[in-house]
Symmetry: C2
Subunit: 211 residues, 2 copies
């Protein structure tokens, strides 16, 4: 039996399927060959017990034996310690993977998620578009010069950055061929496909159970 | 001579002084008693050399001997490995500090920074206010129950969360007494005061040099 448990919702509407962030942790475990189980929290009733474990009422949680971690970024960095596949062990490769993991969370997603939110809530003019353009242009320039963000190989930073950039509205924003090739290459990995299919099957089974 | 170098701008306008993110790294070094030097990059001319070291044209950078890291969050986690003062060494305390550090970057700052941006650019109705309200309410509830975010003591997660929450417009948003007490307590630490004063003096000296 595995000590790693990834907690996700028991069900979500169709919209977010394939993008619920438990996928990041499933994907990392698949890349690293780490055994894990998936358990669920109720989507409909996010009460005090949920908030006690995840203070923003979200998923995923990662349990590792007695430890419980929220924040998918924290879960990824925790898993990365278990496998050189996710995080190089030399000081330079490790520093690069760390900085690009944080960049995905705090320089890219800090702009793309609110931009996406303004898009779907139908703001007439999306005030964050200039900022988004600037950040994505910097990423495009970076990816024109290399296939991977850190250490000359796939790392957890690529997993996270590709997951941030593959959101359909973000992916469709502008003409950014190096970024598009990067997303396509990384989401073509068997571990991504396995994690994605497993998440889709998980929520489809929940539909069947509800019907 | 110290191997740690914190890179910031040679000058910035008055507005961001006291909030430029080199302060986070100065503060962490002060808390941990780590020796460091401060060096500068030109604020006015952010050209290819700057972008080669910091792909978004920002500061800070942290140099540690041969290593160069961008992203203040990555710099903090790198420094946290050097000192138990910043990050507990037991598995539970470490996991808690990691998750709350990432929460500051990806659950709080991902909302507060775009919200602040919409405020200062004068959006008639700030569409992110409901989201901001929700996240800050969750933080207030968390801080009603404890003095520190992780491991029952000050950690790098408090340093970062307090720095995120002390932004004046964010700090003034709503009536959140536990959060206000938290910010006041943490920014009353000698290491914060020292780092803040040093940043203010750095930019004041730059004014004098320009005059």
């Amino acid at each position: 039996m595995s000590d790693l448990i990834i907690w996700t919702y028991d069900w979500v509407p169709e919209g977010p399927r394939g993008f619920v962030r438990d996928l990041r942790l499933r994907w990392a475990c698949e890349e690293a060959g780490l055994a894990y189980a998936v358990k669920t929290l109720p989507f409909d009733a996010r009460g005090p017990e949920h908030l006690a474990r995840q203070p923003f009422g979200q998923v995923p949680l990662l349990s590792d034996g007695q430890l419980d971690l929220f924040e998918s970024g924290a879960g990824l960095l925790h898993l990365a310690r278990k496998s050189e596949m996710l995080m190089p062990r030399d000081a330079s490769g490790e520093a690069q993977a760390l900085q690009w993991t944080i960049a995905a969370l705090n320089s890219i997603e800090m702009v793309t998620v609110p931009w996406w939110f303004l898009e779907i809530t139908g703001a007439k003019e999306n005030c964050l578009t200039g900022w988004m353009q600037s950040r994505l242009t910097h990423i495009e320039r970076t990816l024109q010069g290399r296939d991977w963000l850190a250490g000359g190989r796939f790392t957890v930073a690529d997993l996270l950055m590709a997951d941030v950039l593959r959101v359909p509205k973000v992916r469709a924003f502008g003409d950014r061929p190096a970024t598009e090739a990067y997303i396509a290459r990384i989401t073509d990995r068997p571990a991504f496909k396995q994690a994605h299919a497993a998440q889709m099957a998980h929520f489809a089974a929940a539909d069947a159970a509800r019907a």
